[in-house]
Symmetry: C2
Subunit: 429 residues, 2 copies
Amino acid sequence: MTLTMSTALLTDHYELTMLQAALRSGAAHRRAVFEVFARHLPGGRRYGVVAGTGRVLDELERFRFSEEELTYLRERHVVDDDTLAFLADYRFSGNVYGYREGDLYFPASPIMIVEGTFAEAVLLETLTLSILNHDCAIASAASRMTNAAGKRPLIEMGSRRTHEGAAVAAARAAYIAGFASTSNLMAGYAYGVPTAGTAAHAFTLLHDSEKEAFEAQIASLGRKTTLLVDTYDVAEAVRTAVELAGPELGAVRIDSGDLAAAAQEVREQLDALGAFDTRILVTSDLDEYAIAALAAAPVDGYGVGTSLVTGSGVPTAALVYKLVARETATGRLEAVAKRSVGKPSRGGRKQAYRLLDDAGNVETELITTGGLAPEGGIPLLHELVRDGQVVGREPLTAARERHAAAVASLPQEALHLGRGYAAIPTEFA
Amino acid sequence: MTLTMSTALLTDHYELTMLQAALRSGAAHRRAVFEVFARHLPGGRRYGVVAGTGRVLDELERFRFSEEELTYLRERHVVDDDTLAFLADYRFSGNVYGYREGDLYFPASPIMIVEGTFAEAVLLETLTLSILNHDCAIASAASRMTNAAGKRPLIEMGSRRTHEGAAVAAARAAYIAGFASTSNLMAGYAYGVPTAGTAAHAFTLLHDSEKEAFEAQIASLGRKTTLLVDTYDVAEAVRTAVELAGPELGAVRIDSGDLAAAAQEVREQLDALGAFDTRILVTSDLDEYAIAALAAAPVDGYGVGTSLVTGSGVPTAALVYKLVARETATGRLEAVAKRSVGKPSRGGRKQAYRLLDDAGNVETELITTGGLAPEGGIPLLHELVRDGQVVGREPLTAARERHAAAVASLPQEALHLGRGYAAIPTEFA
């Protein structure tokens, strides 16, 4: 079940036809610098969270045109024979720099920079954007949810509400942004994300009574299990649950109704039954606003599905992959930018730094196109690929810790859930 | 590059722990009927479009727990040894019925029914919902766009704005719902969807002048190519384009600005230059509303990205997978339904029919739990899997034709883009 499939066809048709035309004109071999950035933070968000970088590195290594891919391209006349010959030998041999996973980004932050020939760098546009646009969108939404939840743990359980492959990536991105666990087993297998689960209404309905269902679950999974108590009548279910499991019952899950009121009633009932340590887990279309609204309710954990995997209203991060510099006919590297209406971009190979105030809080995202590093500025771009070799891998837990530290460094108002401007200004030097 | 990876871990943790508990209680071997349906059509939509069924069948055949998956589950203590033994031998041996791809659905339409033992049917919940929730959401949005575009062709080009695997499925779903082509090469490879592409601003910026870029593209791809004309100045680019390619130039693409005004100006310019047959393709954050607003503009085709792959505001279809009947201790099949607040569901094994009025327009979605088929009612559920064997495969073009016919059978008001109620009522008998 190792993921060995080639990723080369996860690519837009025009990348290959542009390659063909550039091979013909000779410009394909010019050095080029592409940059991934967002013109704006969507949805009135205060910050974005970088996620997917590690997946880009994994999939870059599998970006190969084998005979199967080449046969398809030949038979469909997608590109000519010279281009097919180029693709057969294709190996990315350039450099990639990027923000680290879990770090934050703001408008115009150059979260990834790809340097190589035009030919080798243009081919990576579609796949790189697919991964980063999805994973950053999910991590950015997840970060708002973990902020809203405070110290209470969040379980990611949205697999069923998104594409089956996206589900795995979403679980990974949510973990980076502070979720405690996921329901998705493939995310556990592929990325080591802790997995968790409770039970569904179907399990209760399958048995001849709720009591029989609870007995079966406790007998098999132990008293520390989480029992789902809203299939029929919540109060009756809670009574049955504690009767069967005793006060050692791990948790109950409530998945419908007015969650704040239900949690309050269930807490009182559990306490009255002596089940002081039995936790209350709530689910049912939660998003960061609903989580925040439950802050005062006696809830011990949240399960979040749909809103997490759909980016809570922002399912894609609006990142673009733009040529910012290219070699001229005379061999010089020149900054370039198009002049389309309403779609600003800035040419040139960037450096990026985060500047802190005296108290250690982040103050400015500084983007430069050369010159000295600003004093005390934290460099944000790290080497990920050198001469085609991946050098920037790191454990997922490093990204998770980085995210927690980065959020803690933000001004307090950056954590407000309402629509607003970027938490810190982006400045150009 | 054949897709041979096991799909078994694209599954929620709790499906396996419920299985474990049900194996222990013995209830796992009871016959069970699960149903996939939507309680409501999200976003004020008038109808939904079924898509993903074919992918469910493909992935069902790869739903196997091999030694790699079992080792992971054992090492992480996800389930016990008895359950691992069950999983090692797992083959779905039941029956699946479903609406055909490309067909429409309405609230409560039972678009898929899975019959088997509880053990074998519950395991398919997560994967089935992941596929159908994603693909139906995309197809439902795509259908609104093809309605808005009328006879003008649509190119799906949203791969970069969604997860790389979701991109392939989105291209497939869009094709079912009437899109002419996709930019996604994997969708061409895996599903035979026609692929297409133009060129990016990077290609123009790479060359020393726009003229050199256009020359290179025409030399390599021929006069029928599509030139991107908004990198610098549109009028100048169009003049250069026709100067180089002559009136045989295939098309120009405009990707920014006021598309209606720009298309009008470019059409006039092309006509003045004698390029009467050169088509105008527009792109730039189009959705069904923007497409409809361009109906009077001289546009020959639309490229749609972000809004297509994100379901145009509705990225998931809100489909659920619910136990509707199960075998009792005495061996009888009994209808079941939970009683959760605000989450209605109806028990029982369903049949579904579409009823037409005398003019042949659809009038009612009729759902029954037994009894005779209504006279003249079109049965909507078809056999997809019989005793574990896939029997319901069909070519993607069949789904595409079915969708076109199904939309044509709707009352005219069902095609309105504004928010509203389901186009036809769902009735229960």
